[in-house]
Every structure is written in C-alpha cells, then in structure tokens.
Amino acid sequence: MTRWVMLADLERCVGCQTCTAACRHANATSPAVQWRKVLDIESGTYPDVTRSFAPVGCQHCDEPPCMEVCPSTATRQRPDGIVTIDYELCIGCAYCVVACPYQARFKVDAPGFAYGAVQLRSESAREDPHRLGVAQKCTFCVDRVDYGIGLGITPGVDPRATPACVNSCIADALHFGDLDDPDSNVSKLLREHRHFRMHDGLGTGPGFYYLYGRADGAVAPPQAAPISAPGSTRAKGVEPWLQSSWDWRAAANFMGGGAGAGLFLLAALAGLAGIPSDPLALVALTLVAAGLLCVWLEIGRPWRFLNVLLHPQQSWMTRESIAGLAFFALGLAAVWSGSRTMFAATALAGLGFLYCQARILAAAKGIPAWRDPRIVPLIMTTGLCEGAGLFLAAAVMVSPLEPMRTAAAAGLAVLAAVRGVVWRAYLDSLESGGAPIRTLEVLRAFHLWFLLFGLLVPIVLIAAAFMTPGAGAALCVAAGSCAFAAGWALKLVLITRAAYNQGFALAHLPVRGSGAAGPSVKPGWAMQ
C-alpha cells in the first residue's frame, strides 16, 4: 500500500512563504485563497521569546471529518490517503469547511483578481469556473503525483511528481513521500526526528507531520504547560477566529427546524387528545420549510441541492434532508387526511429531523462550541421548548386549543427548566474541556440573558398566570414568546457569534540551536 504524507521540519522553516506563493501559482487559486500557508507564531514573554513558523493546509487525514460530513460525497479519500473534492458533485454547503479543524477549506463564490476588477489574461487562461461556489483545498498536487507514478518516477523524490510547495521550499523544510515505504524519504525523516501531528487528540489522523527536533535530542519536560495565555503569544491568524461560512441563513435553518419540529410534536399531541390542530401543523411545516429555504439560499450551488441526498451512510446533513422529506410528505398527508397515525408519524419524523440537526452541529469538528456532545440534548430541548412556547401562545390565542393551555403552560415550564439544566451542563463541559477563549466570552455574556429570558421569566410568568387567572392569557403569551425567542437567540449566538474555529496549535516548539524543544503552544484557548 501507499500512504502519501507531508512533513514540515519546524527547525528548518524560515517563514518565507515561498511555498504559499508556489501553491497559489501552481493551483491558480483566487487572491487570499491559500491552500498552503505558513503560520508565524511567537510564544513566550519578553525577553524569553520564541518565534516559530509552521506550514499548514489540508492534512489529508486518515479519518477526514470533512469527508464524513459531506452530504454529496464530493469529498472522498483515495486508497493512497489523498483527500479529493469532486467539484461537479459539491453543492457548496460549506459543511466540510466548518468540519475541518485545520481551517484548510475555502469556498469562493465569485471570481477574484489580483488587480481588483481587471482580469489579467494569465488569470483568464487559468480560471476554473468549476471551483466557484464549491469547496476547495490542497490536493497534495495530486495531478503531479499521478503523472509521476505514470512515468515510473517517485513522488517526493523527483520534482516532476512532487507537490509544488515541497519543490519550492528554500529551506528543505517540506517533504513529501510514502509513509508505508520504510525506505522512503519521509519514513527515514520520521525515524530520525521527534514529530507530532496537529490536533492529534481529535482523532483525525493527519497525513501531515511536524518535525521538531532530532530523535536523540532533548525535549521539553512533559509537564510543561501549553503557552496559550492572551498576551504571551502573537496569535493573529493562529488563534481561533469566527467562522464565516455559515451565517444567519444557516442559523435560520436550525431556528425554523427546531421550532417547527417542536411545534408539530405538540400539535400532534393535541390531535391525539382530540383537539384539531391542523393550522398549527401547517405553521410548523412552514417554519421548517422557511429554515430550509434560508439555508438553500446560502449554499454555493443551489441547483445541485438533490446531491445532498447522496451520503446517508455518514452525513447527518443527508440524514436531515431525508428526515425533512419524510416530515413534509407525512405532514402534508396528515393535514390532508386528518389521520392521527399520520400526525404521530410526522411528529416522529420531525423529532428525527431535529435530532439530525443536533448531530450536524456535533459532527462539525472544526468548531469546538458545536462538537461538544452536549450540544445534542441542548438543540433537542431548545427545539421542543421553542415549539412549546409557540404552542402555549397559540393555545391562548386560538380558541379550539384553549383546553390545552394549562397542560401546555406546565409542559413549557418543565421544558424550560430542562433546557436550563442542559445549557448549564453544556457550558460547564466547554469550560472544563477547553474551548476558544472568545467562544467562552460570547457564551458567558449570553448566559445570564438566556437564563433570564429562557428560564426564569417564562417560569415566573407561567406561575403568575396560574395565580392571576384574569391576566393569565397575556402572561402565557409572554411566557411562550419568551421561551421561544430565547431558543432562537441561542441558536443565532451559537451559529454566528460563538462559532470560533479550532485555530492552530503546536504540540512542541522546535529546537532552537542546541537547546531543547519547547512546550506546546495553543493560542487563544482556555484550557484546564
């Protein structure tokens, strides 16, 4: 077997960015789209300061999170480990972008040119419209690799078969070769050097190794604490930054999806209790549809949307789409037929849809605030809570639902309490497990507001409604609205404000001179 990997020798890299330029030229990427780049990391406190340079890009992982989440199967992995993207299949949902903990993927929606609006002929000649609106990333210069194999020459040894970045490296810091060949250049280098892989704890199995010292050299004591405190690192471009691939339109999908699924469940329960709730069911279906419409408006290749159904084996986005189709088909049939069984089946499909949405976030390994497993119960409970809030408001304003008001109010109070507990557990998990500092800042700032309007106010209003029957209706509407709005605010915050990505980290600082390798560096992170 063959496993192509890349090595970056942190002792040798001088940060010249020649590999960045070579990659930009070789692959004709748009301005600022750097499949390969070199990080400039400063760590320590004056006068004890270290400056390190670390090439980064797609790590061609053994277990690529981008491939797992891809709903269209556009992202695939070759037997030799190279992770590829089929531009014709990709729908441009950018799920892979947020799933990649190495920030290696890009999506370009419009052509960009070096000199602004003017397109040079060289740019025109190499323009690839297939790359617009879809995901793109480092290919390990797979065309060169395959070309070389076809010629019988060795990738990583013969420049004709070697990635452009490696060829261009002025410091002999980048290497490419076959990990499965014990005599290959990379295997020898790995035997001779200490090495690590970035974010190894995430279980992605990167095909990119960082050398940081000779195998027989000194190394920092294992207890050395990571350097991550603000001010002790120059962290621009290294520490986590707010993802911008999923904006309010993606958030709207989670907002409409959760509230719609929750509302339909309660509408179905009302139906089982013999209370007609067709209008509410239609509202629920509309909410989910509106959410999906919003996210459809966000994807880069909207008319390929059916490709979203191609990866049910692994992608929660595909599963969400299938659950969504079932939800709409069953829901419309339920409303048309009035069948309680159909209503119940639709409610189950809705719950499945909601669960898939929660798992979509949990599978996004690139966003620490999303990948925490406690996000699943949080998204589930808030969806139900939002639905219950809407239902309670409806139970006040729509007379046929009047008999459900007390039960709905009590149910909302319980759901709000459960959501509060789940939220606390989620936040505690992030605090204790480590998360980007800015993520925690955003969530901490949101915490009190969420507890106030998502928990305390609804419960107080519901209690007041029970005690003051005269004002009960208004209080119930306010309680429901509050619980509902808090849930939507939570999702908007989670998707658009707290979604800082993984950033970059070095498990060891490289050896400098005859010294020992340094401790790890993880800028912008709060760690226990």
């Binding site: 960015q17 960045t20 330029a21 600022a32 750097q34 400063e42 400056r51 070096a114 040079l120």
Partner: protein
C-alpha cells in the same frame, strides 16, 4: 527569456525597452550601449575569442540586446564552442556548466591568491583613511574630518545612543527624554526586491508574516501607554510624524519600535496604496550622523501616542 506568457498589459513595456528609450532621450545611448557591452546586463559581450558587442552609436531593440547577451553567455559557458542566441534559451530555458561546490566559497580563492585574513585588524582601512584625509586636506576640505576618524584598523567602541541623542537634541532643540523609543526598520523577506512591491501576491504573502503594514511594538510597553493590538498610533520624531496600526509582540525590546519596509515614496501601482507606516519621513539627514561610507543607520528617536482604539 523575453518570452512573455501574456502580452504586455496596458501601458506596460519591457524594462530593456524602457531603459533604451531613456538612454536615447537623454543622449546617453553610447554610454548605455558601452555599459551593456561591459556586462551591465549580466554578461560581458566580448571575450578572448568572441565579440558580440553592440554598436554603441545606435539604439537597439530588446531582441537584439538580449540575443547578444545570450550569444555571449553561450560562448562564455562553452569556452567559445557555442554561440547560441535568444532562440536557444527560449527553447531550452537555460544552459549549465560544471562548477565545483568548493568554489562557492571564498576560502579556496584566498588560498590560491595567497591572501591572508585581515580581520579584525584592518590596517588597509587605516591606510586608506590617512590617504583620503591628505587628499581632502590638500583641497581644503575639512568637513569630512569626523568621518575620517572611522578609518580605524581596529574600531573603537562608540556610544552610538549618546551620539544619536545628542545630535537630535542639538539640531532640533528638543528634550530627548520626550522621545523614549528607538525606531528602526528591517527588510522583509517577501519584499526582498523592490520590484516585488508591485505584485499583489507578494503583499498577500507578507500579510502572513507579522509586522507588515504596521508598527511593531513590545506588548508590555504598549500596555503602559494604553495601546492595544491594532490601535491607530502616531509616531513622532523630532523631525516629523507618521501614523499606523500597532502590531504588538513580545520579541522586541520595550524601548524599540519597528517599521518594516519603506513604501511611502512608492508611486507605482499597488505599492502606492499600501498605506503602511514608514520611517523615511521621520529620519533627519545630519552630517553628524553620517558615517565614513557616506551612509547612516536607519535609526531615530521617537515617541508614540495612541490616536484611537481599534
């Protein structure tokens, strides 16, 4: 190889065309051609057994100039066996010749020429200084006397800080304590050649390396002045002032500021829009601070004021 991948864009012209045109219009065509013949384009156009020299009296086209250069290069590399011109290089890209790795270094040449290492005691410098001083004084020139003191066989330590501070205080009548920072500059790997400044890709790459486009400052020193990373600050020397964004880091002395590159005088596309701070405008030209080579250090004392937060 004078084989453009794309036709010239807009008003762009081959640099040789521009240089020839300038020579022609300024009446320097003969000297210009002679300079090319002597090797100004990288290769001398004549040797022991070949001569591809240009006619000094007339202006030559780009192709003619580079064809001659290529033929001379071929002859030089093949001991006059070959004389392939521009077309050969367009087709082959380059021509190589064996060159022992040992000759990359100066040492074998020193040995073969019987030269000795003269550092650190450079009596040659001392001798030249004395000779230069006598010639200058013969012509009544004494304003270079201070610089002549630097022609030393073994340089003395000098308090450069005091030299700079004293000169600035005297010339600008300022209290030097009001300028507590040293402002320095540095070359950039990405902008290693001036021509790079017009290439947008180079600017993009340089932004991956901290300090480009801003004023690098020690984080603790910045904190004392209430300056955060990215804040707009004004840097003022006794001569002038400029402004830019603070780039905070630990790896710089607390009393030092750094402005990478000097792009404020560039008038060409891309570089003229850099809007990056430069120390050019802050640097006085003082004979007192001019060394024996006629140069000076890129060094000046400044103060920093935060203008507003980012």
């Amino acid at each position: 190889m004078r084989d453009p991948a794309v036709p010239p864009q807009g008003e762009a012209r081959d640099f040789t065309w521009i240089a020839t045109e300038l020579a022609k219009r300024t009446g320097l065509i003969e000297q210009y051609n002679q300079a090319i013949n002597r090797g100004a384009a990288g290769v001398r156009l004549f040797g022991a057994n070949y001569d591809f020299s240009l006619d000094p009296a007339k202006a030559h086209g780009v192709e003619t100039v580079w064809n001659a250069v290529c033929r001379a290069a071929s002859a030089e590399l093949t001991d006059s066996v070959e004389s392939d011109g521009l077309e050969y290089y367009r087709g082959h890209g380059f021509r190589v010749k064996s060159f022992p790795r040992l000759h990359w270094y100066l040492y074998p040449k020193l040995v073969s020429a019987g030269l000795r290492f003269e550092q650190p005691y450079q009596e040659r410098l001392f001798r030249i200084g004395k000779e230069l001083g006598r010639r200058l004084h013969e012509h009544g020139i004494d304003w270079w006397d201070r610089q002549l003191e630097e022609y030393e066989a073994l340089p003395h330590w000098r308090d450069l800080a005091a030299l700079w501070e004293g000169a600035l205080a005297r010339h600008f009548h300022v209290a030097i304590e009001d300028y507590p920072f040293w402002l320095i500059t540095a070359r950039s790997m990405q902008y290693a050649w001036g021509g790079n400044a017009g290439i947008p890709l180079i600017r993009e790459l340089s932004e991956n390396v901290a300090g480009h486009g801003g004023i690098v400052m020690n984080a603790a020193a910045a904190a004392r002045l209430g300056i955060s990373d990215g804040d707009l600050v004004e840097v003022r020397s006794p001569l002038n002032h400029t402004r830019g964004r603070a780039v905070l880091c630990q790896g710089i002395r607390p009393d030092t500021l750094l402005m990478i590159g000097q792009f404020d005088h560039w008038a060409t596309p891309v570089a003229k829009d850099f809007d990056a701070p430069s120390m050019n405008a802050l640097m006085p030209m003082l004979l007192e601070l001019t060394d024996a080579t006629g140069s000076s250090a890129d060094l000046v004392k400044v103060n920093v004021t935060p203008l507003r937060t980012s």
